[in-house]
Point group: C2
Chain length 396, copies 2
């Protein structure tokens, strides 16, 4: 019998944690583990709103895979997946290389969900990768520098954040901190700068406790963010956005943060999907395939009430850990465990030293929430890179 | 007899030095001195190539007028001049205010000379003010961030510098230093980045000793700058530049550094001008007006061979000093002196620690030239703001 080949696509939370489990638990030659990723780094997606606004460097949210993946045990390929052929048990990369597998782990992450809104894809930014957030940061700065030379163009310093969900709110928190710095750097009168946070749903942060939602809106309001809740965006144009109310907001910067869908590669591979997400079974298997597993934003799992879990880092990490252990068990002929998410609470930052959180029935506000978020970040960094990485990345 | 009104337009080298002379030498109530400037700061134009490339902050090249102008002695107006009416002895500001004067000092600086090249005004940047160079810096960074997301668009990381005169060469020196930093920050392979320095004249740095020119081109060549000398630019488009040779360079960044002309406000005021510069007499007077003086880039003076002096900071400073003293003399009924430029040499930087210079018959290369340039900068800062300013601004 030949050594089984485990192929992991994507070094996001799900794929990385699967890889690290295998790296830690498999003995030499028990399996041939290959990790494919677009970049030679992992990034902390839940931090990306900071470098997007420019309140932290992009470098800060990035972890070199060299630092955490043991290349003696894991074969790393820097490459972009083009297609998955589950019948042939192969994966084709953009460079034409074809990889075969015995076990496949799909952790290719999400794509922005534009809900068919015209022009969003072409004219809006999204907070989705290191390259994307550097582009957003530079775009914002560029707009300030342009406004200073063409002061009638207030659309240069008008910013639209589409979506008051988790990402939209966290990004607004950072923008609120960043704009006074930018005004100072570019000699721009803060009164000219506008930030609109536009949400189609009847509330910001749907699913959060109303008291926390009010607290968040109050904090952000004081930072100058103007909310338009229950107000769908109808169209995004090169000049700004048209709202369903008929109002037009002229803005050269639209950041779309209103949700994600699964990955089009997964859809094209022929798996049954809902919005690009594969409804996996209790063992995270794709329907119809015993050897194809899906983790992270591409995986769709339901709670006991039959409602899908939102795609979060927390669940992706747990999926990766469970799947890694299960793969070891499968190779050794041992018992596998069902995946059961353990929700440890939700924490949203609202800029420096501010946040909100729900941990069980407990509500957290302000610096308490910010501190808990730091603790949670520390825990994750320790998990993937030990004390050294945690100390390097978290400013205490 | 009422107190004579001296009105100074512009706080560049010429206007500022005139103001400082008056501030220092006039007694209380001898004259009413008013300085009008667009900004509440003076900037060190000869440093602007650094913040334009991003190798220094824009803040560094800026000196708050509060720090050097004594508002007890000088009436400062932050405003933009719209027109000069020499017959009425008035100046109109953009906000509609009309200022009258007994003595007028025009130091309104220069505008880019585009030599009628189509599209330059619309599509090229110029290194001309704090606001302009911040815009150039941000534009360059933005292009790097865009390239990373659209790697086929090499025009995003192709930079055209129009002109291999003083400013063009100094800017190329800084760009050569900055690009490796940008490549690192944005994960861009340096092999994709191109910088072209394009000059219509048959040599770079016309007027410089050929040995120094060769040295400069060699230093910049090693930093990756590609020269196209004797190659006029025919047209600038949104996509790049068309050369007289028929070649097209696709570039999203064109920085025009091939010379300046005087100020259109001066032309419109009815003074006799050549390319926006007023041919002043030996006392820096505009022809036909005993009470209108022109300093800096708006003033045209000729050497003994009948060739015009190039507009430099060095001459502007000397003009301001002489004129300031003369104005004091005129008010007191004393003797005025003719303006005679004292050329103390020319120094060009080529990036960090590198430069060339001609001081009398002596040629300077490399670190010696860079050091001399620092000494000259120190001297100027000391002159306008004392030891404190010199120490604050010059990194030793």
């Amino acid at each position: 019998m030949s050594t089984p080949k485990i192929l992991i696509l994507g070094a996001g939370y799900g794929g990385l944690l699967t890889t690290l489990q295998l790296q830690q638990k498999l003995h030499y030659n028990e399996a041939e583990v290959t990790l494919v990723n677009k970049h030679d780094y992992h990034y902390i997606t839940t931090w990306l709103h900071e470098p997007a606004a420019g309140t932290a460097s992009a470098e800060h949210a990035r972890v070199d895979l060299d630092r955490i993946v043991d290349k003696q045990k894991v074969n790393f390929i820097k490459g972009t997946v083009q297609s998955i052929e589950p019948e042939e048990q192969t994966v084709t990369l953009e460079n034409g290389n074809v990889l075969s597998y015995d076990y496949l782990v799909i952790g290719l992450g999400s794509e922005p969900e534009t809900f068919g809104i015209e022009g969003l894809k072409e004219h809006a930014f999204s907070i989705r990768s290191i390259n994307a957030v550097r582009n957003i940061r530079e775009h914002i700065q560029y707009m300030f520098s342009k406004f200073k030379n063409e002061p009638h163009r207030t659309d240069y310093v008008t910013f639209v954040v589409g979506g008051a969900g988790f990402t939209g709110i966290e990004f607004c928190g950072e923008l609120g901190d960043r704009i006074p710095e930018l005004c100072k750097e570019f000699d721009v009168d803060p009164r000219h700068v506008k930030v609109y946070c536009i949400e189609a749903a009847p509330t910001a942060l749907p699913g959060f406790d109303p008291e926390l939602v009010n607290y968040a809106m109050d904090v952000l309001g004081k930072k100058g963010i103007e909310f338009k809740i229950g107000t769908p965006i109808k169209q995004c144009t090169p000049d700004g956005v048209l709202l369903a109310t008929g109002e037009e907001i002229k803005a050269q910067t639209v950041v779309w943060a209103a949700g994600v869908r699964g990955n089009s590669i997964v859809e094209k591979a022929g798996f049954e999907t809902m919005r690009g997400r594969v409804k996996v079974d209790e063992y995270l298997r794709a329907p119809g395939y015993d050897n194809v597993f899906v983790v992270g934003d591409c995986a769709l799992i339901f709670n006991d009430e039959g409602r899908p879990y939102p795609p979060t880092a927390q669940i992706a990490v747990q999926e990766g850990e469970t799947l890694g252990e299960n793969l070891v068990a499968m190779i050794r002929g041992g018992l596998t465990q069902k995946f059961i998410p353990h929700l440890q609470g939700t924490l949203a930052s609202l800029g420096k030293g501010e946040g909100i959180g729900q941990v069980g029935s407990k509500k957290l506000f302000g610096s308490a929430a910010a501190l808990m978020k730091k603790a949670s970040d520390l825990r994750y960094l320790y998990k993937i890179g030990g004390v050294g990485l945690a100390l390097k990345k978290v400013k205490l």
